[in-house]
């Protein structure tokens, strides 16, 4: 039974919106001009490839369903209480390979000693073999390195094989130049990494396992959706508010301006983390007092995520509104707006035909620039305890769960490293892409070069 969570709907809407925007840009040459600059920037294009991969994972992880169970006694269809995604299905082997507790990357034994009962009835304290990791090896202590190398080689070959058709496509669609080389190189890197992981992951826990024995690679991949959602949806859900208030404050001035300025100064004056914390605490209290609102845990976590986006957006919209107000103040004094007023064109029409199209670059820049900061913010908020639902997989929750284990001897480092690594790649790609978009769209930076 397919399940459409709120955030799923929004993410599909977002993808559709992006596609629509791309179509619009292709149709209008003057809109396409700045994007051609982005397309010619090697760093930006490399970043775009990485971002697309992350987005693809997020979209796959947003196709949710409840698996069917055997029909009930009366033949009616029954569905499991858990909600899975297409991504879960694809990574089923990782979900299945559940160990007992911590194990290091590529380990064949558990991290901690346990009492093992030997066949002859004695019990010894030793590191027990893992149920899945390296289970195919007869003698894990000797054959492991060779086995890993062989499988990695196979993975590289597979990756290369997957890259070739993609590269052929890219060469056909993109003009030669630095940007194309960057795209091809990034694609190659992505394919090789994916190939190696795909071959190794069924046999080993590439990033180890966590406290409850879950594969860390799986958790990391699942965290991508949370990160992408928070980065993208937060600005989008409050966009109408920011645009509406910012533009009308700038255009109408007077009382409207006073009211909007008062509103955003007041909201701004509350320290962001505290406002978020207060709102999340309150939301939490509401959710806890009404457990009957949700059918599944996933729905509950999802609604909490959506609320988090809204709340983060509430603290974020003021910045965009302020920028839009300032820009509108400038645009409304331009001659073409005065000319329109000389024709008696209505305010609504001036806003939609003259003001909005000429301030839209600010909205775009703001959306891409905010993305990375929000992904990073999620981790911090989850650490503070006001982030996403503790049951939801996210970079913040991974870090939060793992940081206490740093005190162990020897340390459990892999969970942290995996989360930080993936988060770093996502945020770096977003930052590089955003930089390029800003340079292309912002008339101030453009005149400088």
């Amino acid at each position: 039974m397919p399940v459409l969570l709120w955030t799923d709907a929004l993410i599909f809407l977002l993808v559709a919106g992006l596609a629509g925007f791309a179509y619009l840009v292709r149709r209008h040459p003057h809109l396409a001009v700045p994007w051609r600059r982005v397309a010619a920037d090697p760093l930006a294009m490399a970043a775009a490839v990485v971002l697309l991969c992350f987005t693809a994972v997020a979209v796959l992880d947003s196709l949710h369903y409840r698996p069917a169970l055997p029909p009930g006694p009366n033949g009616e269809a029954q569905y499991a209480a858990e909600v899975n995604s297409v991504l879960d299905r694809a990574l089923a082997v990782l979900v299945e390979h559940q160990e007992k507790s911590y194990s290091a990357p590529f380990a064949t034994r558990l991290f901690a000693k346990e009492a093992i009962s030997l066949p002859d009835g004695r019990t010894v304290r030793d590191y027990p073999r893992l149920a899945w990791g390296g289970a195919h090896l007869a003698d894990p202590d000797r054959g492991r390195a060779g086995d890993i190398a062989g499988k990695a080689g196979l993975g590289l070959a597979l990756g290369l094989a997957a890259w070739l058709p993609a590269a052929w496509l890219v060469r056909r669609r993109l003009a030669a130049g630095g940007a194309r080389r960057a795209v091809l190189a990034t694609l190659l890197a992505v394919c090789l990494v994916a190939g190696v992981l795909a071959v190794l992951a069924p046999y080993y826990h590439v990033f180890g396992t966590d406290k409850v024995g879950q594969d860390v690679l799986y958790a990391t991949i699942k965290s991508i959706r949370t990160g992408v959602l928070i980065g993208a949806l937060t600005t989008l859900v409050t966009l109408p508010l920011a645009i509406g208030l910012g533009v009308s404050a700038g255009y109408f001035g007077g009382r409207v301006d006073d009211a909007v300025q008062y509103l955003y100064t007041t909201l701004n004056s509350i320290p962001g983390v505290l406002l978020i914390a207060a709102a999340v605490l309150l939301m939490q209290a509401q959710l806890e007092t009404h457990p009957d609102w949700f059918e599944t845990g996933a729905e509950r976590a999802d609604l909490r995520l959506l609320f988090l986006c809204l709340i983060l957006g509430m603290t974020n919209w003021t910045g965009l509104a302020r920028l839009l107000r300032a820009e509108t103040l400038k645009v409304r004094e331009l001659d073409y707006v005065i000319a329109a007023r000389a024709f008696g064109v209505s305010d609504g029409r001036i806003l939609t035909r003259h003001i909005l199209p000429n301030v839209q670059h600010i909205v775009l820049i703001s959306v891409v620039m905010d993305f990375s900061g929000l992904v990073l913010a999620e981790a911090v908020l989850s650490y503070v305890g006001v982030g996403v639902d503790p049951g939801m997989m996210s970079f913040g929750n991974m870090i939060n769960g793992a940081r206490l284990e740093l005190a162990r001897e020897p340390v459990v480092w892999w969970q942290l490293v995996a989360a930080f690594l993936f988060m770093f790649v996502l945020v770096l790609a977003a930052n590089l892409f955003a930089d390029s978009v800003r340079d292309a769209l912002d008339p101030r930076t453009r005149s400088r070069t």
Partner: protein
């Protein structure tokens, strides 16, 4: 050349543009500035004159560089000097002042500090000695000594330009380059600054390389003139010879496109076509496509600068041939602008004691402490078929007046009568119906068109708002007709404003205003941002439209030759009031008010 002065040979500047293209905005420029000599580098926008100046200072912007050529200052070749040594020349014996006085000074350093910096760098003066010298420099440029402690924001535009000149005199330059030093200033201030430059040049024995687009300034200031076109010097001679016997077809055209009282009623000559694009492949003469005397060889053979008479250099293949000795026959003279004032008709627009005051708020409770009287009791009338020129300097309230007349801002007091009906109290639909009678054309062709709209939509905007009854078909037909009328190609409607040049954009703006068939057009400095050759086209178009449609123009400008050429009547505005108003010939010929006289005397072209 030996002795003091600047000598440039075959300067070539190249720019690395997007996509690996290489542009050559300055291509083989040679000129010299002698001691106590003023050389004017004359050219329209984009001809490469500013880049020439920056190249001489070795201050070219990123991506641009000197590709070839030599330059000598006081006999010393300086293009190959290491940057460390060049620094000692720059601001020392070779100095430069810039166009924008508002932004060319450091806002957080006082004038004294900025002068002292130059004195320390070039004359090793510090402390009291520097202070005394700074005061001396300030006095030399006509600023009182107490201005030493002022910050740029406390000075007016003219004072800032004086301060900048003082800074540049600190190194006691033998040549001063002035890049459009007065373009951003009012005419009266312009006259003062030009006079100051001339005087400094004379008393200090300094060479002055003055860069300008204004022929009248060249006439007033120059000893010799270099005319620049598309990156090259096309003519290089003494001032007298240039204005009396111009050799290059471009120069002669330039002299001919200027409006003046003498050309009243005549159609101004135009230069057809436009300057070659910066990345165009150039073979042969760069002016060939716009030249009326072009021969086949002009297009194939690259032209060189040749001396056709002692001290008169020309870059023209036909130099010395018969037709060029004197003035060639010009385009036939057609009477277009209203030579005679139209018959007295009822005014289309009449302003009665119009006042626009802006409150000034002060203090704890932001009480209204005073009023800025932007427009302070103006009465005037514009009749059908008549051009009323509203003349005044920046800040005199002329733009506010225009906006109040169009009911774009609310008047504080007084009446605005359109066809005898007071529209000052109208609102809503009633006001909207009146709006089609009066429209406006702006100064800046770049901000007056929405960059996100197609030209056809821009022109149709007024129709959509004021004639909603018009169906799509007739509306499109009307747009096509208007495009044709203002001389734009038929396919222009589907394109976006950025694809058009400044002059073409101004045509689009005129078409937009005409779309709703107004009877009054407020033209707010419509040609100030345009080159003179384009100005002629727009003025001709406006004159034709007036004759055809009996339009009334309220023509706001500070350019007196345009007034003399175009206006039937003139109103002079000063500090929110009309100080003098009357028939154009009478007022310009025999002004009664001191302010009008000062304005007329300040206009360049009459000698200093």
């Amino acid at each position: 050349m030996s002795g003091r002065g600047l000598e440039v040979r075959d300067l070539r500047v190249e720019i690395d543009a997007d996509g690996g293209r290489r542009l050559v905005p300055v291509d083989g420029v040679s000129l010299s500035v002698g001691e106590r000599e003023c050389v004017v580098l004359l050219g329209e926008s984009g001809c490469g004159k500013s880049l020439t100046a920056l190249a001489l200072m070795r201050l070219l912007p990123e991506g641009a560089g000197i590709a070839a050529g030599r330059a000598e200052l006081d006999g010393e070749s300086f293009f190959e000097l290491p940057e460390r040594l060049m620094r000692a020349r720059r601001g020392g014996r070779l100095a430069m002042i810039f166009q924008e006085p508002m932004t060319s000074l450091n806002p957080v350093l006082s004038i004294g500090q900025q002068i002292a910096e130059s004195l320390a760098a070039h004359r090793r003066l510090r402390g009291p000695a520097a202070q005394a010298e700074a005061i001396r420099l300030l006095e030399a440029v006509g600023l009182p000594a107490e201005r030493l402690d002022a910050y740029p924001s406390q000075l007016s535009g003219g004072q800032r330009q004086r301060a900048l000149i003082a800074m540049m005199l600190a190194g006691d330059p033998s040549v001063l380059i002035a890049d459009e030093p007065t373009t951003a200033l009012d005419v009266t201030v312009q006259a003062q600054i030009l006079r100051l430059l001339k005087e400094l040049q004379q008393t200090r024995g300094m060479g002055l390389l003055l860069i300008t687009h204004d022929l009248d300034i060249a006439r007033d200031m120059a000893d010799r003139v270099a005319v620049m076109y598309a990156g090259q010097i096309v003519e290089w001679t003494s001032r007298a010879r240039l204005f009396e016997a111009p050799g290059h077809p471009y120069t002669r055209r330039l002299l001919n496109v200027l409006p003046s009282a003498a050309r009243r009623g005549e159609r101004l000559a135009q230069i057809p076509g436009r300057v070659p694009a910066p990345d165009a492949a150039l073979v042969g003469c760069r002016f060939a496509d716009r030249c009326t005397e072009v021969t086949p060889s002009c297009r194939t053979e690259a032209q060189v600068l040749r001396e056709v008479a002692p001290g008169h250099w020309l870059r023209c293949g036909r130099a010395g041939t018969a037709g060029l000795a004197g003035r060639a026959a010009e385009a036939p003279v057609v009477v277009v602008a209203g030579a005679a004032a139209p018959a007295t008709t009822r005014p289309v627009l009449e302003l009665r004691d119009l006042k626009v005051h802006f409150p000034v708020r002060r203090g704890l409770l932001q009480r209204v402490a005073g009023q800025v009287r932007a427009v302070d009791g103006v009465s005037l009338a514009v009749r059908a078929g008549e051009t009323l020129a509203l003349v005044g300097e920046s800040g005199c309230g002329k733009t506010t007046l225009a906006r109040a007349a169009l009911r774009l801002i609310e008047a504080t007091a007084g009446q605005v009568l359109l066809d005898g009906e007071d529209i000052g109290r109208l609102a809503g639909e009633a006001l909207r119906r009146k709006r089609s009678a009066m429209q406006i054309v702006f100064q800046d062709p770049f901000s007056s068109l929405n960059p996100r709209m197609r030209v056809a939509d821009i022109i149709a905007e007024g129709l959509a708002a004021l004639r909603p009854d018009l169906a799509a078909g007739p509306r499109a037909a009307r747009v096509a007709e208007l495009l044709d009328r203002v001389g734009l190609p038929g396919d222009a409607g589907g394109r976006y404003p950025h694809e058009f040049s400044g002059g073409q954009r101004q045509r689009i703006a005129i078409a937009r205003a005409l779309a709703v068939s107004p009877r009054l057009l407020v033209c707010d400095e419509p040609t100030s941002a345009l080159d003179v050759s384009v100005q002629a086209q727009i003025l001709n178009l406006l004159a034709e439209l007036q004759r055809e449609q009996g339009l009334a123009y309220l023509f706001i400008t500070h350019n007196l030759p345009v007034v003399a050429y175009l206006a039937h009547r003139v109103a002079v505005m000063y500090q929110g009031r009309i100080v003098e108003q009357g028939d154009a010939d009478t007022l310009l010929g025999a002004p009664t008010q001191a302010y009008t006289r000062m304005l007329l005397d300040s206009a360049p072209g009459h000698g200093l």
